[in-house]
Structure formats: structure tokens, C-alpha cells
Symmetry: D2
């Protein structure tokens, strides 16, 4: 069954294909009375927008968002606010370049969803990848911009921390750097290297994978819940649902497998703001599926773009052999533009869990408990 | 909000705490007319049962399952079958050793869910970890045994592929070996090493992490769906919901980030059974969130057990300093018993997606398409 | 929490306010390869469209639907078909008459949702009733048109069977008559009477209630399921969610309370098409929440429009006394246009249950069973 | 697809058949720190328990409930409280009288779910009606007892207001009378009449329908939400899911169809407790799907028990003719014991909506708004 809704209380339903008239989403369950302007959503969309450097696809899409419902002018403040009813957001597709689709229409590009859509549904919109195109992530970023408004006091930032086999130097981490280079890279030196590295790959008609890290600070302790509504379980689903993602980890992640209990335990000491002070954050801000009050840290691996100029062995719809190469516009490292998408998914998950927690528990307990 | 239900059409709701009267689950949506005996469920539970070697907790629990509903004798065949109504499964707790809980009742064990449950709910059942105990996974394994019956033709097997920093040698992989050693390890030589290695850790009162791999063979192409009901997205949520799991990957996983497009693309050639022949499986059997017909390969990282004998800095419920060490029974490598749990989650996700696919699409398309 | 999604496998999410830029819906889970043209949806919308007679609101809305996603040309047949991905439908609002809203903005119209939206959300889009306007039902009708395409072999028809205290004469029932009068009334004689009756009420600035009956023929036996997914339970929710509906009944409905067991039992005799022949249909086609194969019969009561010219006692947002009368365009009998809406909801519920049944059970059992 | 879960945040999953080992439910999402004793649940179960008068089934079931999980002793107060984790409740079946089922095993009782379960699933537990038995409602009443604890300040009471064609005299309404007669009837005089009336029907081996009214007082304004999560929509689903229910109405219900707008509008005047004073309650406490603060009034019609001594024409599993009469224990008016069940469903729906509202909106707006 198809399932294009994400979230439980803060629910996002997306629609649209790469080359259809429009894509967008319906954000349902957003609390009322939250100031919300289209420009705030636009600002997030602009960070993800294609065609902003030579390192991303050259498709020119303004990605202008329209709010179709769910907001109204609050005459007491003169601000446009949410009303508690569904917020529909629409982005019209503009640059659906007319081209010859005869090759991808009849053959399956290796690593793409061409074959699986066809075998599942018996038909697919092959233009630009149809529903499986990363263009859908524009709708996620728009929804995430609404989610951010719900999460007052929470800061969500993402960064590219590895490109191909090259990890950044964490000692150079500078959040301000992220907006200064076209890679969302917090290490200025690594960014310089990536520019050269990616130029080489791009010119070779190749592509490369990446690892993205998203960090949410200011998340209150207590979000998430046993056992299938764990915060980290929902984060894993959210990140793995992004195009081309093949792995997700929280905190220490796979490295935790190599640690001993003494090394991995995050020791605590009395704090002074309703949460203990943790002396480390191997847990990535989540214990037992519930947030600890520390930064929530999530990483995900993005595979290399499957659209490459090197011909690959494949088959046609009718079962014949074919060699496929993908001409045209593409992102040589699709992981780059996944940074704002990962942030958006983190925002949606946290907003959902904030409302869930408030629903079941209200304000929650006040730690420390009295003696 | 609490959420103890997993799955959409094949839905599993679990209940129970480590030291309460019983734990169990309700499996809703199971198709009717499937032969099902308690002994089949028991066989799976016995694989996960504690106290079977010196390498797992010494708690003695027979884990006897009772089927409370949802089955009936089919007089035409003389077999007990599912009826399409909810299947309730109950496992009574037997070995709730009476002990002095005063330490963990008032202090938070680092790496455990003690603090987060308390701060979220204002109360927690501290006996043996309560709801956050891995004992709950018995209910998952029971549900998974039902899911396996739904998945006729699909083989699901799990294995421990890394303990601490020590990965197995994949050249030695032998599925038959998995049932011959207490580690579910497919590499006999590695298993020998792990025995000695874990003895050392156990005697030191320490613990260690692990990586588990679960492989499903015989999965038909076409399961999963855009975009938030992707097969890999649901697998990620499923595995991340298991106690102590900190990372999940599909196919090449995090290693895909280091690959170029040419390396990562799984080339295809015409096959002869409704699916092309793939020349590799970097994708782990999933493209665009939909199964390709290749083996579905999922790995997850389990952190080291937080219950260790070395004292760690912590705090009390009332906000004072405390040093905590965990005496008593525990698994020095909780990853070991996570193997049958991972298999169970894989089975539940696949059963769910099989029903979803049948609901939306019916039989699906027959590839190759005619000319 | 807000919840603007209806259905489980065939899922409809609606959005939009009476006077916003657009309203519409996302239909998710529709099976692929179903021919679908905008004109087919338009035909249903045209039946519900306002301003077609003097007996409905004079607001002029063309209600032109646009399909934004989820369809594609099938080159094998030359027909546009569904692709299995979400179908977004949009209807732009055109006739949002600019007017003075100062009265309803500050006061609560008795019988309207003005007060409850305000007290729940702290804000409401008061223009034309905002989200609580019956304009939203256009989105339902559009979704229902898609659902009808899923239900091949099922005929769904609705009729107005009572206006005010005046029930039609069931002896005069003629389905063809329904499209010949502006009341969707199957009794030509009653329709004549209703014209005069409603003229009187309309001129008096009053309004009146109605009862609508929706009948689905050709529904296969076996749809619906225990116990909270009963077909009749979902129908009740669906109909009660329509604006102004205050009661729902299946088959004999409230009249069943007055019957004895012998009178109410629908006797059966052997049939010849996978279902017995029923000698009556007090059950309205549903037993134990599952369809019997007989026509599914559902009725619902619609209260009189609350927008009337007679002043009524009320209060303002600031808690002062106010007398409110509603000028402007309105339906004197909102039940009339509820007929196509009720049909649409019946279609959505049945399509959902058809997919649910196929998912859990597949083809289901073939009755009669062999000896 | 099967669906044995009801509710969204306060979620109840029930299981069990009439003659299986046990039935019960899992209540998930209940807020923590609510005092809860098994005796409180037992008190509600005792009101519904069979065999308490000659007017209900003579099956002897103690209906003793066991709490299997989700509660813990709060040492600060010495009271057992909810912990926020799933509350599993189990009731063992005791009086599964051994009898000859050969008749109902092979034939379909008219008006029963025998045929529909068989045709849907290919098998059914015919003993006592299996899953379709009203015995399942014990689990609902148990869950409702938990829901009542969530709804502090809300009073939920039910009453039988019609038996067969005989409505009570509302002028005689006395809530205290409800617990004094075996019919849950608030009109003492009508209760006397019903005793004689039902004796006659019972002796004749017949049965009769009834109408039940459930009223919730103290419900805060603002619960419920557009558009498919309307409070009245969920109430309709809840009541229609009870065995034998064929109609549901809110407030004026079907009678509203006969009213003019002036008659049906509930006028308001300024009140003094965060809500206006309503001068009538035709709406039954719900406007636009959201509670007004007035009593929520819901009625439902229960058909006559289908188990009667008069032979009725039917068919066998193999398609032959059969005449069926139902011997053995049954409720001559199943509507009587539906009273506590209706209360329980009202409680579950309101608890769910209370949590939903708190999740999306928090405390909500404070009416009246400042000038």
C-alpha cells in the first residue's frame, strides 16, 4: 500500500512528481496561533534549491511556495498565524525540460527505482524519475519549516561530514562555515578539498556518496516513548525515507559496537535545570527511546547518485539486454542537498514527538524529585 | 504519547514489564487459514531464551507461550489455523528474583533508560528495567514466529557479524554454523575467539557491543512503497526500536558513502523468473523503497550492555551525586540475543508489506512486459 | 489533534477553507493502472456544484478540478491511468465575495461552529465559515469519484427521502427521477411538493432538515472486519463527519429497536453466486460488521442550515450579548447537496474496505464450502 | 483487514473469543500517575456481568479482571498508579459450557455474523459466536473504566430509554433509578412495565430491540477537531462498533431533520465559566465536531437478539437449505447490557479526544477573549 503521510500528531502528507504540474504537502495537526509567513518557508526552500552552484543539478526551479490553507490574519497582532486546520503548501514545477525520454522509458537505470516501480505498479512516470525523484524533498523542506516554528527553543542544524572516503576534521568544526560553502560543510579546509574533488568526479561523469550529520539542540528531556514510538526509531524511519539514504545512526552509532560498557556509558552529575549534566553524549541524546535533554545527534549515509555517464549493464521493460547511461542534469553528490532535507525530517519528528508527549503526559515530571 | 503497536496491516501490540505477572502481544491482521501451533512459536522463543549458555543472562525463564485467541481447529484438515481475528500471546514471568532494588530505585544507571522514564512519566517500574528491559523482545520473537508463517517461501536468517572491534571473516560464512555456537556466529573460527574474548569481558564485569546482520531470501519484488512506507524505512524503524540498537544500514550501508556511482550501481541482465538477474547487491534488495527480488540485507549495531560492575558517576532521583554499579544477572553482550529479535522484526515488517502490497496492488505487474 | 485524513488503505486527506485560495485533497493508496480522467471527477463535482437551482446557495463556483499528481499516460492503451502514487486534486475558489464580515467575525452564530473553533484554537477563519464550511465537501466528492473507479461493479446511488417532517412515498421510488429534480428525490410527486415547500421556507428566511439514503449495490460479501474496523462503524464515522449530520443508521436502523427477533432476522435460502439469497434486508447489507452481499443501505439525518434570517440570541467573542442573523447566500436545505457527498463517503469507505480485505484475506473464501 | 484497535492517543486493542481461554485488552497511551486499582475496573465489569437477573443470559461468568502490566506502586503515596506503559487487562473465560455445536457449526443463524465470518475468512470459531460474541464487550468495559480515570471531572451515565416500541416517559427521568432495576431504566414506572413485557417475550422464545442513551457531563469545550476526527464522528464509529447496534444519533439526531433552523438553533447568552450559557441543547454538546461544554448526548439503537427459539429459514455451509433455531442461553434484549458498554465507549472516545486536544492545542483558548 502507498503511504505518503509521515508523523502521528504532526502529520505531513506529500504529493507530486518531478515533472508534473506541482508538488507539495498538507501539514495536519500543527498547533494554532503560531505566526507563519510564506517567506519563512521560502527561506528554507532556498537553501535546498537546485542550480545554486556547479556542484548541484543545473535544473532551474524557483521553488516558490504558496500557502493554500490553514493560516489567517490574527487581528490582535496583525500577524498571519496558523489556525489549527490543515496547511496545504504547493510548489509549481517550472523547468520540466522537454527531452527525449525514450531511453529511460524503456530501460531500467541501475541503482534507480525504475525497475521496482514498474514491477510493483505496472506503470511509472519516467520523466525525471517521477515520484522517486529527489524533487519530492522540496515538500519535506517546506513541511520542516513549519515544524521548526512549532519547536521554539530548539535549534536544528545539519552538515556534510564525509564525501566519498574523505571525512572532515572535526577539530575544524565551525557551524558558521556551513553557509559559506556550497557543500554545507563545517570544515573550511575540507570544503576547499571537496570543491576540487567533486569537480574531478563531475567532469568524469561520475558521482560520489556522503555522510550527513544533523544535530538538534535545546530538545527537552522526555520526548519519545516506548516501544515502537521511540524517538530514535522514528528518526531512523525519517532519515531512511530520504532518497538514496542507506544507513542511519544515533550518537555513537556503529562505533558503539566496538566499545566496552565503561567507555560507552554517559556519566551524569547533578545539573541545575531540570536535567542532570551529562559528561559525554555517546547516546546521541536518546536513552530508551526518550530524549535525555542532551543534543540529539543523527547521521545518515547517502549513496552516490545512480545517474552517471558511464554505461552500465541493464535490461529493458520487455526483458532484453540494454546498456544504460544517464545524460542530462543531475547532482554529482546528492548528499549535499540532503543536508536541509535531513534537518527538515529531524524537525518534523521532533515536532510530532513534542505534541505526542504533551498529549499523553502534559508538562511531564519535574526533575529532580523532592527527597 | 505511548505507542506499543508496530505495523500497519500486520499489527503487533506488545505489553509487559520485566518483573510483572506476564508479558505478551496481540497480533492483529494475520490472514486466516494459516496453520499455527504454539509449538512453532515456542521453537522461536527457545532460540532467544536466556540462561542457555554462560554468555547470556543467568535468569531462568522457560518463556512458555500460551495462545489466548485467534486460532481454531479446521475440521477439514484437523489442523489448528488462524481465524483472521486477533491472536493474543502470553508469556508468564517466572524468575522474578526477589532482591534489594534500593540502589537502582533511587539512582540512574548511566546508559539505561532509568532517568528518561522518570523524567517523562514521573514514575518507573525499576524492577529489572521494567518496560525498558530486553525481556519485552520475547513478545517480538513470538509475533515474528506468526509473521514467518505468513511469509511462505521467504527465509529469514540472522547472524552476529562483529563483536567489539572484531568482525568475522566473511569468507568463512556458513549459515549452518549459526546454530552450533552460542553467538549465532556464522564463522566457526570467530566463534571460538568470541568465547574466549567474552569470558574475559564477563569476568572483568565489563560488556561489549556487536553488529548483527539479518538476511531475507525469497522476498518477491514489489514490496514497499513510496514514500514514508518504504520497505527500508520501516526496517530502519523496526531495528532501531530494539533495545540498545544505535545504527541501522541496508545493503552497502555506510560504506556506500565512500563509493562512486559506477561501483555502487547493481547491474542487471535478463533473468527468467519475473525479475532480472542482478550482478551485485549493493542495494541490499531495496531500490526506491521497494524490494527488487534480491535478498534483503539489513545490519544493526548494538551498544554494550550498560549494566556493568565498574562504578560510574551518576545522580539520584533527588538530584544528589551517586556512583552506580550494576550487580546481578545481565548479558555481557546483549547483541547476541538480539539475533533472533532482529529476525523477528524483519519477519514482521515483511509480512506487513506483503499484505499492504496485496491490498493496494493485488498480484502486481508481471515483468517482463510484452513488447 | 487535528485529523484531516480519512481511510486506512484508501486514504483521503482534505484541505482548504471556504474563502482561501483553493481547497482539495490528496488521495493516497489508490491502486495503479485505473483509467482516470479529470472529466470523470468533474462530472461528480458538477452534481454537487452550488448555484444550479434556486434551492441551493447562489454562490457561483465552477469547481473546476485539476489533477496535480498521481496519473500518467499508459502508452499501451493511450489512456491516462493512476500510477499508485498520491493523487492530488485541487479546486480553486473563485467566488469569494468580498463583504462585510464584521458581524460574524465578532459574534457566534447559533448552531454554527463559530464558538467551538474559537474556544478550541483561539482563532478562526470566519469568512464563509472557513474550514467548517460545507465547501470542503467538494474535496470529498472529488475523492469519491476516484473511489468509484476502484469499485468496479459496484453502483452507489443516493436520494433525499425526507424533507422536514415530510417523508417520500417509497412506493413511488424511481432512481431515474433523482436526476430530474433539484432535490435528488426519487419520488416525483414528493419533489413537486418539496419545491413549493422549500420556496416557502426560503422566502421566510428559514431552513429545514432532511434525511438522505445512500445505497450501494454489487458490494461483494466479506468487506469489513472485527471489531473496530467494521464496515458499518466506518460508514457511521464517514456520514457523521459530513457537515450538519446528526444521525446515521444502517438498514432498519432505529426502527430495529421496535422489532422482535423473528421480524428482524433476514432469512436465507441457497443462492447460486457465492452467496445465499436473502429474503429480506433488515440488516442493510452488514452482519457482524461484514458485508453480506446484499445492498448496503445507509441513511443519515441532516439538521436545518443554521444560517437563517431570524435573529437569534447569542454572544460576542468578548462575552457580551448579541443577536445574530445571517444574511447572504446559503442553502435553505443543506441536506439536498449532501446527497452526492453521502455517495462519495460511501464510495471512499467501500474502496478502503475492498483494499483492506484484499490485503488481509486475498480472494477470501468461496461459498458454499464443499461437503 | 482486521482492526481490533480503537482510538488514536488513548488506544484500546481487544482480543478474545466467547469460548477461548481468555479475553482482554491492551490500553496504550494512558497518561502516567493516575491511581488505578483492579477493583475499580471490576466495579464496572460487575455492572455488565451476565447472569444477574432473569432478563439477561444465564451464563455464569465472574469476569474477574487481572492487570498484567502498566501499573506500579507509587511509594510517595502508597497508591498503585499507571506508569504510561501499556496496561494489559485479562479476563479468563470460565463458563464455556460444553454442548453440542453441530447445528450452528454447519448452519448460519439469520441475523448473526455466522455467514459473513465464514465467507470472509473461510473459518470461524462457532462456539458461542466466537469473536462476534457480545462477550468481547467485557474488554471494552474494562478499558472504559481506565478511560474514566483519565476523565476527571466528567460524569458519564447511560440509560435504556426505549424497549421495543415502548419509549420511557422522560418526565419521570431519575438517574438514581438506573441502578435500582435490571434494565438500567431511569423511569421506574417504565421499568415495571419492561419486566412484565420482557417476561412475555422471553417465555415466547422471542427477543426485542432497544434504544440506549449515554450522556457525558462536565466535558470541557474544545474537544474534537476537523474534519475526520470530529468528536461526533468518533462517537458514531464507537457506538456502531458495539454488537447489534444499527443506528447512532447525537443530540436531536434524526428528529433534527424535521426541524426548522429557528427551532434547532441553540441560543446563547453570556455565561461565567469560560463558556457561554446555552439556552437549549439540540446539538447534543457538539458543534462542528467540537464539544461546546454542554452535556454530550448520544443515543443508539440495538436490534433484537438474533438468537431466538422460532425456527428461521437458512442455509448450511455446503449450500443446502436448513431451518435454524437457537437454543441455549441468550439475552432476550441485548440492549440492556449495552448500557455500560455504551458508557465505556463514550469514556474511551472522550479520553482519546482529551489527549488529542492537549497534544495539539495545550490548554486551548480562554473564552471570552479580551476586548
Amino acid at each position: 500500500m502507498s503511504h505518503n503521510t509521515f508523523g502521528h500528531l504532526f502529520r505531513v502528507t506529500t504529493f507530486g512528481e518531478s515533472h508534473g504540474p506541482a508538488l507539495g504537502c498538507v501539514v495536519d495537526g500543527c498547533p494554532p496561533m503560531i505566526p507563519l509567513e510564506a517567506s519563512e518557508i521560502q527561506a528554507e526552500l532556498d537553501r535546498r534549491r537546485p542550480g545554486q552552484s556547479r556542484f548541484t543539478t543545473q535544473r532551474q526551479e524557483p521553488d516558490q511556495v504558496k500557502i493554500l490553507s490553514g493560516v489567517f490574519m490574527d487581528e490582535r497582532t496583525g500577524k498571519q498565524v496558523t489556525t489549527g486546520t490543515p496547511i496545504a503548501l504547493m510548489i509549481e514545477n517550472v523547468d520540466q525540460r522537454s527531452k527525449d525520454y525514450s531511453e529511460i522509458k524503456n530501460s531500467y537505470r541501475p541503482g534507480h527505482a525504475d525497475f521496482t516501480y514498474d514491477v510493483k505498479y505496472g506503470i511509472r512516470d519516467y520523466r525525471g524519475g517521477g515520484r522517486s525523484s529527489a524533487r519530492e524533498t522540496a515538500a519535506r523542506v517546506a513541511a520542516g519549516a513549519v515544524a521548526r516554528k512549532v519547536l521554539s527553543g530548539v535549534t536544528i542544524r545539519g552538515a556534510l561530514v564525509q564525501m566519498g572516503p574523505h571525512a572532515i576534521d572535526r577539530g575544524n568544526w565551525d557551524w558558521d562555515e556551513v553557509s559559506r560553502n556550497p557543500f554545507f560543510c563545517p570544515d573550511a579546509k575540507a570544503a576547499e578539498f571537496f570543491a576540487e574533488y567533486l569537480d574531478g568526479l563531475r567532469k568524469a561523469g561520475s558521482s560520489i556518496g556522503a555522510v550527513i550529520e544533523v544535530v538538534a539542540e535545546g530538545v527537552p528531556a522526555g520526548l519519545g516513548a516506548p516501544l515502537y514510538g521511540k524517538l530514535d526509531s522514528d528518526l531512523a524511519a525519517a532519515m531512511m525515507s530520504i532518497n538514496a539514504v542507506k544507513g542511519v545512526e544515533i550518537g555513537e552509532g556503529f562505533a558503539a559496537a566496538a566499545l566496552r560498557g565503561e567507555e560507552n556509558a554517559d556519566e551524569m552529575r547533578p545539573g541545575n535545570q531540570g536535567a542532570p549534566t551529562f559528561l559525554s553524549n555517546h547516546a546521541g541524546g536518546v536513552l530508551g527511546g526518550i530524549s535525555t535533554g542532551q543534543p540529539v545527534v543523527c547521521r545518515f549515509a547517502v549513496k552516490p547518485t545512480s545517474s552517471i555517464l558511464t554505461p552500465r549493464a541493464s535490461v529493458t521493460r520487455t526483458g532484453a539486454e540494454a546498456d544504460v547511461m544517464t545524460k542530462g542534469r543531475h547532482d554529482p553528490c546528492v548528499g549535499i542537498r540532503a543536508v536541509p532535507v535531513g534537518e527538515a525530517m529531524m524537525a518534523c519528528v521532533l515536532a510530532d514527538h513534542l505534541l505526542r508527549h504533551r498529549g499523553q503526559v502534559g508538562q511531564g515530571a519535574s526533575w529532580p524529585f523532592e527527597g
